[in-house]
Amino acid sequence: MRAAEVATVTTLVAVDPVRAFDVFTSEIGQWWKSAPRYRFHPEKSGTMRFEPGVGGRLVEVHDAKTGAGFEVGRVLVWEPGARLVFEFRGRDFAPGERTEVEVRFEAEGQGTRLTLEHRGWDTIRPGHAARHGHTGQAFGDMIGLWWADLLVAIRARVAR
């Protein structure tokens, strides 16, 4: 049975698992959608970057020279061609609050079945910030706004 608090998304991509893992991690800066409304930082634009290996950081880099930016989370599992687990924090998360993203890469036909699970929403406890609906809300807003944009884009395409 599917757990109550896990978001799951899957896609089939026409490259092998090793290449898929490589694109997902080392080329994240080239494919991650980072239009202004979906950024981790309210004003600064940036490029996503994975530091390879367990303990490496996923960072939205705001200053290409210094590498400074927002740390989305740390890599927890790094198995090239098979499995990737990393922490995922929104900008208003309190210290210690984190959600977790697991990505599995499995060979299917000539390509790769990629399954992404985003879990741990229950660890965001309503502490001092969340009590006012703050914690998780920035990420919720980000997602909500993104969703609204997606609908607009779909409507625009249908209208054509």
Binding site: A3, A4, V13, R19, L114, W121, D122, G133, G136, W146
Partner: protein
């Protein structure tokens, strides 16, 4: 959906025993004694967890027989799970968008390498 209601649902689910109780209650309503046995916890412990779930609006208490408190049964309320699902739908929509961008990029660069 209010953020407060979602916070409350997630807070109630933050405990592993309560998550397992919720999983059991998704199958059908159950008596506290049944839950205690299945989860291998004492009756006072299951009472405490059920109280949290009830206070957070995740379960409702029903009386099989009002004269006998041992016949109380707990059932899941639908509403908080609909809210949670709506939230997860948004999270999934976010990732579906990112993954379609990933897929497009991966397949575009592959074609570039092998024309």
């Amino acid at each position: 959906m209010s953020a407060g209601a979602l916070d409350r649902t997630l807070a109630a689910l933050a405990d592993p025993t309560r998550r397992r109780a919720v999983d059991l209650l998704r199958q059908r309503p159950r008596r506290p004694g049944e839950l205690a046995e299945a989860l291998r916890v004492s009756p006072p412990v299951i009472s405490r967890h059920l109280r949290v779930l009830r206070n957070h609006g995740l379960v409702a208490e029903e009386h099989g027989d009002p004269r006998d408190s041992r016949l109380r049964v707990y059932r899941l309320r639908r509403e908080p799970f609909i809210n949670l699902r709506a939230w997860l739908d948004q999270v999934e929509a976010f990732w579906a968008g990112q993954l379609s961008a990933f897929k497009a990029h991966a397949e575009r660069t592959r074609r570039g390498k092998r024309p």
